[in-house]
Each structure stands twice: as structure tokens, then as C-alpha cells.
Symmetry: C2
Subunit: 415 residues, 2 copies
């Protein structure tokens, strides 16, 4: 008998409530029936669900795209469920041993801990990090021996593996798939087995690996986890998935002004999706904004201000949110300086070429980038646009160097 059929009236309402919130914004729940029953079981037995999220220890840069899954974790937390964060350090410590590629260097224990800490701190801006279980999968995977590997592998067909989209594509186009890559889903599934996870979260691009955990748990005669796949959010360009490598991201660790400014630059079509998936507004609040936008009551720019405000508030606090909104208004709407300009003490030449000045200040990484920025009209000294890359600047106390729309530096002279 299913747990959903064993609940009393009050419990049924609780189930309905949890199900509605937890399935909100989710791309795929597999299988939905089982998800409902897991929640029902948790309510009936008064026992939290174990909700797993696996993390790659090699890339700890967390951006607003991650809040899609972080917000979901937060909702689980709010219903009293347990979050299991797994740092996938086993493969990280092996490195990428692929023979023919430039071998990826194995991470040291220290690097793994450092990266885990980064996740920890940055995730702590969204979820209650103290209530989270943190696991390193090398703890159990390093103990698996060849016999067990063979037994794990015996439950998997090669054809099934080649169904995974990227494997299929590479096989079809004669690009190498290395045999150890087949073990990534197996290991991820093994993690679920060890932790007896009830739920695993992942992006839609993780579908194969996350579903694979069900198979491994079944092999061990265990109750299978339910999979929640969350949509991937497009980056600032509105096209590509948000990622560090595409430079179309809002970092969770960025300054309030940068978060605010970057949010203001998203395409209008993404406003609602960002609200739904990445902000901490309630279902009702988002639904209201949607209606107002559709009716023309709310201007897209004002919706974005609200969104940007909510991000800064979520990642910092109300004060910072207010301040960054004022700053933004000053720079973009009144074409003014921001309220606070960071100061840099200048101890070098007082007569210096613009290219040297901007690179010395680390405002841009190379002179050719400064040149390009000058061409685009993006470099100003005391609000005056620089046109000639050969310009020599006379540095005086309090002079302001501006790069692009959001980078300002005020130079202080030593003496």
C-alpha cells in the first residue's frame, strides 16, 4: 500500500503543499508518482527526506545559475528535509587520466578542501549551510575494489551508456570516449547507494547520470531515488547557458554594484524565468509580476530593478540592495558618478600613457584591450572620454579613471 493512501486529512494537505512548492519550476520529476509517495512517507513517518546534490570540486565558481538548484534545496530545507552535498573529490583527486588529452592535474587534498569551502561559503548565502550534510565521495569510492567494480559494471550495458547524448554524439562522430568515462555515472550512482538518497537534484544536462543512480540503488536492493531535473538558465546574453567560461554570468561573490548592474542587462524575455528560478520570491509574488508585465502596468526596466534588488538582498542584505540600486540610478539614469568610488594609492609616474595607466591599475588585462575599449568610447578620465590611445595623462590627486560602465577608480597621491 502506498503512503499517499495512508495519510489523514491534515497530512494530505501538508503533502499537497509540499508537492506544489517542491515541484514548482522543475523541468522533470522522474517518476512523479514516486516523488509524491516519498513525500507522503516522510510525512507519515515524520522522517526527513535525504536530498542529494553532487558537486564538481574542480570548478567552485558559483553564479546566479546555481541558485536555481540552491533555491530548490532551500525549499526542501524549509520543509525540514535533509540536504546531502557531495563533493566529487574521488575523480578530482585522480585527475583526468585520459591518455591522449592534456592530462588534467590531480587536485591535492588541500585544494579539494579549499574548493569545498568555497562552495560552502557561497552556498551559505542562499541555503542554511549549517544544516547541510557535507560528504566527500573519495571516502567510500577509494575503498571499492576491482571485484566490486566488476559487479557494478555487470549491471550496465554498453548500449545503455551510449544512449547518453554526449556519448552517442561522440561515438557517431568518431570522437574518442574513454572507458573510464563510463564510470562517472556509475560512481555518482554509487554515492546515492551509500548515502541512501531519496531525491537527487541536477540540471537537465545531468539527466543520464542522475537517473543512473536509480539503477545502482536497485542493484543493491535499495529503494530508488527520485530525480528532480532543474532547468538550466540562460546567461546575460540570453542565448547560452550561464557559465563562467562564457563570461555571461552573475557571480554569487561579486560586489552588490556588479550584481545589480549585470542583472539590469538581461534580455526582457528572461525576466520571468529569472524570477521563477533564481530569485527567492514566492510563487504568488512572481505570478503577480508576470501579470503586471503582461498588462503593461510594470515596465520591464522596473521589473529588472526589482529582480536586481532581490538578488543583492538575497546575497547580501537590504542595506546593500538599496545602496546598489541608488548607485545604479546615479550612473545609468543620471549619468553621474556612483556614490562611492574605490580609492587607489598611486605611487608611480605622474605623467603616464593611458594604456599603461589602465593596465597598471588592473582595470583591464592588456593594452590591446585598453585600445579596444578606447575605440568603443569606454575609457574616461574625470568623465571625459579618451579618444586617442596615445594620450598622456597627468595624474593629480583625486583624478577618476573610468572603464566601461561600472568600473571606477579614484587615484590618491602618496604625498
Amino acid at each position: 500500500m502506498k503512503y499517499v493512501d495512508q495519510l489523514n486529512k491534515e497530512q494530505q494537505i501538508e503533502l499537497q503543499n509540499q508537492y506544489e512548492v517542491l515541484s514548482y519550476g522543475v523541468d522533470t520529476i522522474a517518476p512523479e508518482e514516486e516523488f509524491k509517495d516519498k513525500i507522503a512517507k516522510s510525512i507519515k513517518k515524520n522522517q526527513p527526506l535525504k536530498v542529494k546534490l553532487g558537486l564538481d570540486p574542480t570548478a567552485p565558481d558559483v553564479h546566479i545559475g546555481h541558485t536555481v538548484v540552491l533555491n530548490k534545496l532551500k525549499q526542501f530545507q524549509q520543509f525540514g528535509h535533509t540536504i546531502q552535498l557531495i563533493i566529487g573529490d574521488f575523480t578530482g583527486k585522480i585527475g583526468d587520466p585520459t591518455g591522449k588529452a592534456t592530462a588534467r592535474k590531480a587536485l591535492t587534498d588541500e585544494e579539494v578542501r579549499h574548493n569545498a569551502k568555497t562552495y560552502y561559503e557561497q552556498f551559505g548565502k542562499v541555503i542554511d549551510i549549517d544544516a547541510v550534510e557535507l560528504h566527500y565521495n573519495s571516502q567510500w569510492l577509494s575503498k571499492v575494489d576491482f571485484t566490486e567494480v566488476i559487479q557494478l559494471a555487470s549491471n550496465v550495458t554498453v548500449a545503455r551508456m551510449l544512449e547518453r547524448k554526449d556519448f552517442h554524439h561522440r561515438y557517431q562522430s568518431n570522437k574518442p570516449i574513454y572507458l573510464h568515462e563510463f564510470f562517472y555515472p556509475v560512481m555518482q550512482g554509487y554515492d546515492s547507494h551509500i548515502l541512501e538518497s531519496d531525491i537527487e537534484l541536477g540540471g537537465t544536462d545531468q539527466e543520464f547520470n542522475v537517473l543512473f543512480g536509480r539503477q545502482v540503488q536497485e542493484q543493491f536492493g535499495q529503494e530508488k531515488q527520485v530525480v528532480l531535473l532543474l532547468p538550466l538558465i540562460e546567461g546575460l546574453d540570453g542565448i547560452e547557458k550561464m557559465s563562467k567560461s562564457k563570461d555571461n554570468y552573475i557571480g554569487i561573490d561579486e560586489s552588490p554594484n556588479d550584481i545589480f548592474g549585470k542583472t539590469m542587462s538581461i534580455p526582457d524575455e528572461l525576466i520571468i524565468k529569472y524570477f521563477e528560478l533564481t530569485s527567492n520570491l514566492t510563487i504568488d509574488e512572481v505570478s503577480q509580476i508576470r501579470t503586471q508585465l503582461e498588462n503593461g502596468i510594470l515596465h520591464p526596466k522596473d521589473a529588472k530593478i526589482r529582480l536586481a534588488h532581490s538578488f543583492v538582498e538575497m546575497l547580501y542584505d537590504k542595506e546593500e540592495a538599496k545602496r546598489s540600486q541608488v548607485n545604479f540610478a546615479n550612473i545609468f539614469q543620471k549619468n553621474k558618478m556612483p556614490e562611492e568610488v574605490p580609492e587607489v594609492v598611486w605611487g608611480k609616474e605622474l605623467s603616464i600613457g593611458i594604456l599603461d595607466l589602465v593596465t597598471e591599475l588592473d582595470l583591464l588585462p592588456s593594452k590591446s584591450e585598453v585600445r579596444r575599449m578606447i575605440k568603443n568610447g569606454g575609457i574616461r578620465i574625470n568623465q571625459e572620454k579618451i579618444i586617442d590611445p596615445l594620450t598622456t595623462v597627468q595624474v593629480i590627486d583625486g583624478i577618476i579613471v573610468q572603464v566601461g560602465k561600472r568600473k571606477f577608480v579614484k587615484l590618491k597621491l602618496n604625498n
Copy 2:
């Protein structure tokens, strides 16, 4: 500089001699250049080559087909090289864990030792078994951990594995290949790495697995083994590869009379191939027989008598060879009893149906087989053919029961 270029005159002759004998009858040497240089190195350094043969511990029935490889091992031994026999007990002890098939039971340690002993005893009929190194690969494979598995696997592409004929065929025809099966070649190669084998022998059907050892050794920065693939010999039917399951084999453990009789039944086209690959005649002797057969000087039947004689001599001794030849002549050529008929003490009913009698004596496994044999005129009592399956036999002392052409039993009464 290659070793072949470092030999003096005498050593060059030795190289030529070894190379000629060791490559005789081999289907494929891969690569030939390296094989020559391995021998040259062994001569130059006065250091035996390590010649590996892997054995499946689940099927220890050795037949004349195995003498193809045993004779080759013997030649290596005669030149002073070292034979490494590997009992592949690691997988045998895991059993076949394939999920969907009827799981093959794992062998116990005791069964593995027993099967290894069987190989040992039967191989001892052809090669100098005391000079052989015997290894069990569970000794090292059970110690391999997941990290090492990943590293081994990272050197293999899935496409390369799917090049193996049977994998390719199964993938194409949508029959499952289980992931652990990909590890059989890897393990076999790992054995070569551990034992630092110079040469690995195998049947032509083992090409992929045996060549794979080169890749694993290379991964460990080791000198690569050379592969000698030996032809598979057809069985008595002249069509299928000799094997126990096809019942077309001559067992190494069979009685001299059976070995002799079965050898006489091979098709004429196979005579030379059997001489070349399975007998212990020299190259020159075989070449002489070939010429005589071609010129019609030697009748195929007489060639087969020589072959059968050589098998019994190889597996037993000269005496037995002579005796089985006389027996054969008596039965088949003069239609007489064999010289010696095995005696069985009969303590059961003295009046017994023919079906019961033959099955009680274990001459045939079932009554339906006795019935079929009677139909074919293959059952005789004191040389008199039985026609009716309902015949009742009156057992008297010394009565002879004959089944087929070669099975005779003389019944002795207890009192």
C-alpha cells in the same frame, strides 16, 4: 640499436634456428620484427624469454586441440625459455555477474585449485610441467582498487573495444554487451604487465585480448609483449573448431584405444594440419609425410595410423601406442575383438533387459540412446547384433557387451 644487430656469427645461427622453429605453424606473429629481436635479446643476454599462456579455470577439459599451443610451449621450453601459465581465477571467483543472464556460480578456491591441477596434470603429458611457473591472477587483481581501474580504463576507448569482433557483432545486432566484459581484455593485459611477459600465446580467436596486453604494458612504461596467434584446429567433423561442447574432440585424458580410434576418423584433408600442429613430429618428418601423401606413396589411412600412433605415444608411451594400434587393427580391419577388453564385475540380475543392461553398465547415458543405437545396429552381445530393444539378456560369466565400434565390456560374475 637492435639486439639482432649485436649478435656474433654463432648467435645469429642460433637466432635463425629458434626463429624458424618457434614461428613454424603460427598463424600470426605481431609484430614479427619485435619477435626476432626478443629472441636476439634472450640470446645476447643469455636470459630466457617469459612466455605466457592464460587459462580459463572454469573449463579444464584438455583435448588434442590444445596441443597446438602445448607443442609451441614445448618448443619454447626446449630452447630454455620460461613458461608462465596463468589461471584466470579472478573472474572465475567472481562468477559471471551479468545481471540478466542466469548468473554463473562463482567458483570456490577449492574448485579453482582442482581445475588448475587438472590442467597441470594433463599439460604434463606434453610439456615439462615442473619447469613451468604457475600463477593465479586473483593474487594481484583482487588488490587493484577503483583508482587503478579508472587509470587502466582511461587508456582505452570505447570505439576500440567495439572493434573486437564479437562485441562489434553484438552491438550491431542489439544484443547486450555488459560493461564488465570490457574489462576482460584489460585484466588479461594487466596480467602481462605484472608478469612482465615477453611473449603471449593464444588462439586466433584471442587476437584482440592478447594484443591488448601490449597496450597495458605500454601504459606502465614497460617493454611490450609479442603476440603469437596459433591456428584453431577443426574437430573430428572437419568443420567446427575442436571443442568439448561440439563433441568432436579427442580428449588428452581418454584411453589409448579411444584416442587411436578417434584419430582414425578425422577427414583426410586434415591429416597434414593435425601433423603440423598437434603432433610432436619434427618439421622435416611432417614435410616428408606431406610429400609422400601428395605422391600417393603413402595411403591416407596409413598416415592416420602414424598420426594416431604418435598421439598415443605422446600422451602415454610407445607400448600403449603399439597396443592401441593392434587393437584398432583387430576391431576394424579384421572385425575382431580388441586384445584386451575391460572387465566389470556384475552383481545385479542375471536376466535383464538390454536397455537396462547397457545403461546400468554406463555404456550409454539413457535408454533412449540405447534404443537409437540398437536401431543403428550398434549393440552386440558376444558379437551378435541386437535388433529388438525388448530383448532380455541372460548374463553369464565372460559375456561381452559391445556398444558402437569401440566400447567393449566383459562381465565377470561375483561367484
